[in-house]
Every structure is written in C-alpha cells, then in structure tokens.
Symmetry: D2
Subunit: 389 residues, 4 copies
C-alpha cells in the first residue's frame, strides 16, 4: 500500500453514522484517510439532526445532513457529490441506509454484520443486484497482511488438503452487564431490535466465520451450535460453541470448531485462527497480527513476519513499512478501504464489478454471515442439532 496512488485523485466519501459516541465510525475515517485515497466531504453522522450537526461540525465536515435519505438525494444533485458512502450505524440501519445510495449508484462500504434481520438482508442483496454500485462489507480482519499470506499459502497447497480448522474470538467486555450501566456500545449490541437474533455470534462470530472461510477457501456446509447467555437479564447470546463441517478439504470435508465469547476475562479481542492440513499448519492471532506461525509437517516451526524473509507477495501488497515496525488494526482496516478505492476506480474505468472486487468481502460474504447467524440460533434452539447453511 502506498499513498502515491492518490495521483488519480481522492474518492469523495460520505458517512452515515459514526457520531460522537461511536467507536467504529472513527475507525472507518482513519482507515479511509490512511493511504490518502478518500476525502470525507459529507455525512449524516447520527440518528437525530442535532447530534448529526454537532458531530459533523466537530469533524469539520463540508456538508452535514440530517439523515441519510436527504443526503443521498442532495449529493446526487451535485456534480461533486460523493462517489462512495460508508455506513457505520448499528446493524438495524444498514439496509435502510444503503438503499438510497445504491439506487443513486453510489458505492457502499458497510460495516458488518450485513443487517439485523434476514429479511433486511434479502432486500439488501436484491438492491445490490439491481445497482451498478459496489457493495463492500468491512470484514476488516481479511485485510491483515499475514491473513492474506495465510490464505495464499493454503490456496497454493502448502498445507495440503485441509483437515482441521479452529477459530475462536473471545472477549471479556460483557462479563459484567455493562448494558445496564449506560454504555451505549453495550446497549445496542445486546438489544435484539438493533443487533438482530445473534449476540456474540453476530458481533464477533461472523468475523470468526468469515476469517475461517477466507483463509481456508472453504465454506461451512453444516454447523451445530450451543449458544449461551450468561449475563444477568441479557437477551442475546454472549458465548457460543459451534461445531463446523466444511465443504471440501480432506476425507469428506474439513472439520472445525468456532468459539466466540464476550464473557471470558483476560481476553480483549483475541480472534485466533488455526488451520491444519495434511502437509502443514498455520496459526495467526489478531492481537499480534504481524506474526504468522507456519509448520511444514516434520520441520521446525517458523515465525513468519510481515515484510520479513518468509512473507510473500500477498502480504507485501498490503504492507506499508519494514519488518519489525508493527502495523495494526487500523492498517488492516485501511487495506480494505484502499482496495475498495482501487475497485471503485476500476469500475469507474469500465471493469466488471466482480473483477474489481478481487478479495474484497461483499454482499456474498454478508449473506454467508447472515446464514451463519441464523444457523447458529436455529441449531441452538434445537439443542445443537446440525443445521445446513
């Protein structure tokens, strides 16, 4: 990644959500800015006009709108209107906010999970199909260089046929019932009306599921899920244990486990993936993202480092600085944004949408995530029976 691609001109970007209280809005803005590929020029940053104005002013936004419908319409009228919009609201607004922009041909970069309900998801899928615009879903963990490296190593056969895939995503921030103590982040994430049917499985389980599929190149065929809700008075799952059966891989399908949790003290954001094949194994941990452990079976374990001697072109393509100079979460997120910028410019220059998307997660990954959430919830209601995805 380099900022010299800016010579083509920055993409004019708008933002929906991401006002003062939000965590993820600020992340999207940094991600958009990091490689200088976007210019944030418009926004409707909050659910009320007042908050939206205040948040927009704090950011020095040129054009501030009261809501997303108004914004979509107004921007479409301008010659210098936005080319893309970032949607960073709670889940239940994703679809509604995306519709007007997709209709106007504005490219959409949307936070995950796709939507709060399957109905919304299906409607959104339709809207994307009917639009010419790109739809990018920020499964940002796929943007880490060593995740790219892992994916390419699996794809090129360095691990042989895959057998076992272990993915986990424990956190501890909901160990206590923060949603009852006024923390907005906790409130909407534990509220079925705003988050959807899945709690931890929606918020972080979808990341884990997406990462496992992205790196392995396999899709989950069936799963059996045991969801729990430990928090006092909590309505959504805050811990989930899931058995996975993949389509493809060794001996009639690779098998795996997925664990996500928001109630496991000592885990901050401990997404971890381990992939084992007939010829070798890989291990990657999000909290130490510049490292990838690789063990060719029968040889010593190797610590591959971002930009280091063992890193390949796929990692290098999304790196900025030399080995030993750690890149982190924001750089991984920025990779998704910068590749989206490439995709937008490519589509504008005549590429097909699918060609332009490359490795970018989009509506397909979004629907897979929704299917994952639904399957988890359904399986768990049926006492962890197998459910096909």
């Amino acid at each position: 990644m380099t900022d010299t691609d800016t010579a083509q001109g920055r993409i004019r970007l708008g933002m929906i959500g991401g006002g003062n209280d939000a965590f993820i809005g600020g992340v999207h803005r940094i991600a958009a800015r990091l490689d200088d590929r976007y210019e944030l020029v418009a926004g409707a940053l909050s659910s009320t006009p007042e908050k939206s104005q205040a948040s927009g002013k704090a950011l020095g936004l040129p054009r501030i709108y009261d809501d997303f419908n108004q914004m979509a319409e107004a921007e479409a009228q301008r010659e210098d209107g936005i080319e893309a919009v970032a949607i960073v609201t709670p889940n239940h607004f994703h679809a509604a906010a995306a519709f007007p922009f997709l209709k106007q041909g504005v490219h959409v970069i949307c936070d995950k999970p796709l939507t709060a309900t399957m109905d919304e998801a299906v409607a959104l899928e339709k809207a994307v199909a009917e639009s010419d615009a790109l739809f990018v879903l920020t499964h940002n963990y796929t943007g880490y260089p060593m995740v790219r490296q892992a994916r390419s190593m699996v794809e090129s056969g360095e691990l042989g046929n895959l057998r076992v895939i272990q993915v986990e995503y424990p956190q501890d921030w909901l160990t206590s019932p923060l949603e009852n103590e006024g923390l907005k982040q906790a409130e909407w994430r534990t509220d079925p009306a705003r988050s959807g049917a899945g709690g931890s499985v929606g918020d972080i389980g979808t990341h884990a599921h997406n990462l496992a599929c992205f790196v392995s190149g396999l899709r989950v065929d069936r799963l059996a899920a045991d969801l729990q809700c430990f928090g006092e008075g909590r309505q959504l799952d805050d811990n989930a244990h899931v058995l996975l059966r993949f389509e493809g891989g060794a001996r009639g399908g690779a098998r795996g486990m997925l664990w996500c949790s928001q109630v496991s003290p000592g885990n901050e954001n401990a997404l971890k993936l381990r992939v084992y094949g007939e010829k070798g194994g890989l291990e990657w941990s999000q909290e130490d993202p510049n490292y990838l452990w690789f063990t060719p079976h029968g040889e010593a374990k190797r610590l591959l480092t971002r930009s280091g001697p063992g890193a390949n072109d796929h990692a290098a393509a999304v790196s900025r600085i030399p080995p030993g100079h750690p890149e982190g979460y924001l750089e991984g997120f920025a990779n998704v944004y910068s590749e989206a910028a490439d995709a937008i410019r490519a589509v504008q220059a005549g590429s097909s949408r699918s060609d332009a998307m490359g490795l970018l997660p989009g509506i397909e990954q979004g629907m897979a995530g929704m299917a994952f959430i639904q399957a988890c919830v359904n399986s768990s209601r049926d006492d962890a029976a197998w459910v096909a995805l």
Copy 2:
C-alpha cells in the same frame, strides 16, 4: 516435595510393562525415583519372557519375572516383597495385570486410560472395591504445581461461578500414518484391540477431560462429539471436537469445548486449559507449565509463576526449586508418585483409603474417563447427538 520424607524408608516397587521400546515406562521409573520414595526391586517388563529378562537386566533389576501372574505370586511369598506395582503396559493389559496384585493387597499405580474396554473397566472397578490396596491412575497433568494452584483458586471462589471451560490437546505426531511404518508407539495406539474404542479421545482426550474436571471441580453432564479419522486407513479417531455441558457452574451449568487431535502440525503436546468465571479467568498451558495466567475481571492480567510471588500453598506443596528454575513433565509426574507414596504410608499406618488418596486420581477418575471415551464414540456414531455421562 522433598526427599527428606525418605526417612520412613523407600517403598518397594515392582513394574509391569515398560521394557526397552516403551516410552512411558521410563517416565514412571524417573517419577518414582525423583523424590527418593521408591526402590524398584522387581519387574515383568515385557510381553515375552525373553524381552522381559533383557529389559530387566538392562535396568539392573534385582528380581525379574516372566509375567505378571508369576510375579504377583512370588512377591507375595517374600517378606521383602513389593508394596506397590506400576502398570505401564498398553491399555488392554491394565486390568489383567492389576487383578493379581490387587488380590494380594499390593498397591497399584496404573497408567491411563483405565482399560481398553468398558467390560474390563467394570471388572477392575470391582476388583479395586474388593481389595484393601490403593489404586492410583497416573493422570499426571494433575500433578503440575500451577494446575494445583488453578484448582485451588477455582475452589476458593476467586473466579466466581464458572461459565466457560475450554480445553484442548492437539498433537501432530500422527499427521502421517506412522503406524504403517513400524513405530510401535503408533501401532498400538491406533489399534482398537489394544487401545480400545477411542483413538485420540482415549489417549489424550481423557487427559483433557480429566484436567478440565480436576481444575473446575465440575463433572461433565452431557457431551456431543464429532470424531474424525483423517489418517489413511486408520481405524480410530485422530481428531475430535466435543461440546461439553457441565453439572454446576453459572446459569444452569458451565459450558465448554474439548478438542483433541493427533494430526495438527506444529503442536507437540499442547494441552491447554482455560477457565472463565463471573469474576475472573485462568489460562494454563502444559508446554510452559511453570506459568499460570490469572485475570481478575477488570484488572490487568497477571503471570503467576511456580514458587513466585503469586503462587499459593497448593503450588508450593508440589514444588521443589525456586521460581525461574523450571520444573517440567517429569516433576509433575513425580508429584503423583510421591503423593502416592504418602498415601501408601498413610494406609499402612491405618488411614482410610479415601482419606489417604487426597487429590490423587484413582478408580473413580478412571471410570469417568472410560465413560467419557464411550460417550464420545457413541455421540459421534449418532452424528454428534448429546449423550449423558
């Protein structure tokens, strides 16, 4: 642990199995020797008289026997006959070897899992009940100081009610089909006739199950298991994914996952336990056994070290040397032996068997392990249906 307890005199020990080719026999001998509590004076170390003689001579054994029946009888005649016998054969001989010694009142220290079949297990349980002798099962991982510390911290409520228990035991040594290449260790461990119905679940899954129960103080109520057999032509599982529901713990029972594998490249003997409760979390890894991570919820993670400032009396009681001087697998194994020595002396001095056993794993843990294996196999045959233990 200290060798000054030897003042009471060393316990005269015999051994069944553990000849030249065996790995675990040598481990038992070191474990018995480490704190100077035993003297190995007799043995029938192999399945044929020739090998038994050769192995016994190599060790400089005073009394070498052709088989265990002969040995049990002969030793019973001697005034200085053995007080205890270590059984370190493949699983299918455990029960047969134990019977004659239990009958003679010789204390039995037996390798795990208990037996190869449930029938043998039931018979052995009966034999133990009818004997006055102690029966110790070497679930050696319970002997590690920081495992003892973990157990005591859970017991004293430092973690609050338990919610989530994650245990895993991956290895990689059967990634390739070594059993077809003449490796004896691989041959019998992948042979149903000698190992029993469980492959990885019997060999290492039982250790993981036992460790989770030992530390949590909970028993598994039900499980759902997905067993796989990836090795070409292999008959027993070499990878297993298991959902666990515990009796007791928070909100109608703690939940957990157990993963064991012999086909995951990059994992040597990576038994790892993580326990999370309402008030804190613990993490322990067998390959780095002198460390225990403890996170009181809402505080910084702490690295407790064996004999270090955070270690408690339970850890100290089974430690020998100062912090920073690593103890390992053999010392943990030796702790089981030395506590067995204490138990033997206690029983000889009039204690009841149950008082004498203390934290030592015995027939009860052996039966629980057999139930675990059987439940895993049955559940998996029934497509990962829940099976009660």
Copy 3:
C-alpha cells in the same frame, strides 16, 4: 487521539525529502494524515528538480518545488503558504533545509538524528533559538502509548528510585553488506558524509538513548562505548556496546547498558527498554508495543495493555481504539505529529514555545542525541574510556 480536533482546521504542511525511494517520507505523510490534523500542500521531495517533480506528481501535491530554498521563499509569499514543514532527508541536509523555514517562522518537524555533524547541530540550535517557530524532532518511539505510560509510572514513583536501565536496539538488515548492492537506504546510512560520525549509534542508538532518557526522566552523565564495524569494507559502526551512568537515581546514579546493532540475525527492529527501581520493574518492546510488563517488587508480573484495565490516562491520551485492537508504529508516529499540531495551534494562539512543546522531543533532545553520538565515537576511539556528555 481523535480526529474531531480537526474542527480547528488542518495545518498546511510542506515536505522536504521523502521522494520515491525513501522509506521514512511515506511514514511521515501517513503520520500527518492519520488524525486529520494536516494537509500536505507543498514539497521539494528529492535532491534533483526532476525527481522532485516526479515524486510530487505521484502524490498529487498541489505545489511542487525544485529545492527547499525556493520553496521557503515562495511559500512565505503566499497567504495560504505552509504553516509547518517536515524534513525527511538524509541527515546531512537536515540543518540546511531547516534554516530557511525557521527564518520564515515556519514550524519545523524534522527526522532524527538532528544533523550529520556537531557543527551543523550547533548552527541549527542557534537558528531555532533565533526563530519563533517550533522545532519538533521525530523521536517517534516516545509516541507509543505504553511508553507514555511507562514514563508516567516512573515519574509518579511507582518504581521508586531507579537503579538499572537496560536498553537495546538490535536489527539484522546490515548483516550482509547491502550498501555494496545498490540499496539506497543502506548506502547513505553507512556513508560518513551523509550520516555523520555514527553508524548504528546515530541511526538507532540515538533512538535507544532518547527512549531510555524519556522514560527514566534521567540524563546520561557519562558513557563508555565499544563500537564495532563488522561489515566488510564498512566505514561506520554497525554494532555498539555502551555502558551508561545516569545523573540521578538510586545510590549516586542509576547505571545502564545500551546495545545497538545492525548485524544481529533474527532481530528486525527490536528496540527494547527495561527499567528497574527499588520498588518495581518495567519492560517494553517496540515490536509488541501494546504491552507493558510491570512488576511491583514482591508481586506477580502484570501485563498492562494499551487501553486495558491497567492503562492510565497518559496512555489513553494517545490511544485511538479499544484494547486488543493493536495500534502500531504508524500510530505512535502519528501521536508525535498530532501533538505537534496541538503545539502549533497553541503557539499560534499565543502560548510560549516551551509550554506548547509538552512532551514533544525538540532541539534539546536533538542536541542530546548529537552529544550521545559524539561521546560514543570519542569513547570508542579511546578504547572505551569514560566520556562525559
């Protein structure tokens, strides 16, 4: 750190150096952009007009100049001329490039070490003294949140009087003589004419020295240095061993060691600081910058994490995202830039320069670094005799 401070308007920034081949120029640009506090509007990015034009165009720079003198003059004429300039050339141009801007009252953000020679340094010190502009030296490692935390913990007495300070900065990239193979980064860094009298001591030793002083709050009183030059035909040191005696600390002065190396295979950018006092110890490693180990003497070691439960306000002030979401080198660098933006705005609003600088490294740290380099070189020439700083 947050981008909402942009409401005050972005600072107009120019850049000297940082063209196509340069590594550090791109880093400065990202650092300036990350929190949206600067707008890069002008530059003279290379030593020849042609390269300067090409590099400027690749970045989409509004105003491209042939050289820094021309740029300083032209920008001073404009109402919308630059408010600050980033100097990212090789060391021997730092002073020359800074002079015209300081004269015009343009704030200077300059890469380290200060200059190539002590004469230049003295002249630059004078120029800064005679200017009203701020002079910020990018000792970027001081920008890491957990470094800030470490500094504040020492300052508040959590470690007691300091006794021992160990700092090291090993790399391996000059193990082979890359300077003979056409790598520009290696060429100028091993060339006395462009780098100055110090090789590794100038390039990375100054960072180590600065970090040790920043965190400890102490200055080095005397040092004894043994410099080596292992690379075939190399003229400057590529490994250095330095004994340190500090002014202040326990018992007549804390003592320390500094090791820097460019020839130690397996070390990418392994800057590491350890500080020990009468009451506790701290350990921090640049390659894993989100962690800080803290041991209050007699208690268990604690792993403090950026934004985590043990992190204090000083760390929080320069953090952007929650714990477990790793920030890295670029974010640490950006902290220096964003604090420089605060300082610039403060000075523009009437603050004194020294008030505005806060913790920012400036000319004083630059002179200390030059004194460190000179003392190392002099001491080593005199067979590691003690040299006062």
Copy 4:
C-alpha cells in the same frame, strides 16, 4: 539419557554440605538420582556435627559423618567406600572439602564458583593436578539439551564467524536487603568472607560467562566491568555491567556484553544467551529451556524444540522424553551428573581423565570463572578499565 546404563551398577556417592537449610544440596541429590546412576551412601551435610547428624537422618543416609575430613578418612578404609563426593557447601569451603577426597582418589563433583578466593583456587588446581580423580564443576546450565544444540550449531559453522555475544542473568531476589532479615541464602551470598570478592558476578555472573564461552567456543580475552552495589549496607556487587572482547570470532574478535543482576524486579532466574554470526543467530532463555530460536540470515526465524524436528543428536543425547513434554532445570542438572557417571566409569575402566571429561566443566572452567570474577572486581575498582583474563 536413560536409566538402562545402571546395569553397570550405581556409583557410591557421598555429600558434603546440603543440609536442611540448603537449596542446592537437594538439587544435587535429585540430579544424582534422576537417571539412577548414583546411590547416596554417606554425608557430612552441615558445619556442625549435630546438624549434620539431623540432616543425614532425615534423608535416611546409611553413613553420617561429623565433618569432611573424618568422612574422607573413614570412607577410604571401607571396601564399599564412596567413589565420588558432591561438595555443595558455601564457596569458602569448596577447596578445603575437596582436598582430602582428591588425595584419596575420590572423584569430586563441586558446586560453582570454584572457591571464594584466588589463593584457594590455585591450591585446588594444584590438588586436582596431583590427584588421579576427576573434578567436575556443576555449571549445570551447560547440561540443557538446547544449550548443547546451540554449541554444536556454532561449532559446525551454522552461524559463520561469530560477531556479537550477548549474555544476561538478571534476578530480583535481592531487591530488598533479605540478608538483614535472616534468610541464610542471602546471608552467605552477600558476605565476602563466605562468597569471595564477587557478589552477583560470582554467584550468577560466572554462570553467564561460562555459558557464553561454552556455546561460542571462544574465551574472553579482556573485559571492562562496572559493578554496582545498590542494596542498603551491602558489601558485594548486586548488579554488574560488563563489556567483553573475545579471542577469536569475526574481525579481530567477537564482542559482547554481560549483565548480571540480583536487583531487577520481574526477573526470577532469567539467564539468556544470544549469539550472532555472519550467517545466523541463536537465542536461548533458561526459563523456557526447551526452545531455541534459530535464524539463518535472510530466512524466517525457527523455533527449535527439544526432541522436535529441528533438534540434533547433541540435544537428543541429553534428552529423556518426547517434544512438548517439558524438561527443566533438574533434568539439565542431572545431565551433568549422568555424564559425570559415565566419566567416572570410563576412568575406572582406564580412560584418560581428559578423554573421560568430554564436555563436562571441570577445573579449567573453574579457574576461568575465578579469573572472570577477579577481572570484574579489578576492572570495576579501576573505573571499568580493560583487564585481561
């Protein structure tokens, strides 16, 4: 290592020192026992007859003596007298205790450092020269399998000519003045009369020095030392910073640093060695002794594990159990004892002493350690001037 070598019969061992209060005596006894090569049959375990008797009885020792002279004489009269004696007293008794046994041809296994004073050392060297008995100095860290592996890798040229050797041995147990609080271990170690002229340099610096030399195959030619004494009222150094110049290695000699400390909170027994050559680097840490990091320059870092795929014959020869089953400090110590047993049997069978010693540390390493202590003390008195060894 295996216990089947016992077929030759156990070596009859005596012990001087190692009574109730001692830490290292128990370590020596376990080390002697682990591979079943010794039988402890006699001892004078304390400085007074009463304590000696009590300690001997607690261990169930067959023959208990009042003092070492009495013991040497009495054992020499017996047909079944001891063949070897372990000396585990404080330093100032080493020589005096060794003399009578060396005179009787009893092999001596002695704790380090060699003696408290150089005069004693010279006398002991002479006594060893005049005896036919072996003299083994328990520099136990040389017994770790991965240290053996490191040594063999350097020797076989896998690192190329050595350039840089960094060794450190920080502890924290004397951060507070425990010697004033009645801790015997602290009392004699901080008392010049019992420990000698070196504090930390004698107690742990000698281990670090020995390890660096053992692995590198180089000897220290000159050193410059800055010794400190931070503990209130302490007479001996508790922290030392040492520059090293080696004889041999790249470019006129490898260079190194040695740091030892007893006042660095958070370090339990953190002996660590790093060796860098023209072709690669090695890193080993005593607290995690089953791992050895190896980086061939320009390739990814590899984690070699004891008994794992990257371990060589030199590591295997002193290992007992499979990879992933950690061995620790006691096993490393036992390796010195078991090799000493081999050496004793070899000498008894007619080998020359030097052939029999192999890699065992002996009088030569002891004298080198004494020279190291003296050079450190002398250099430091002369303000860190270079002193030849």
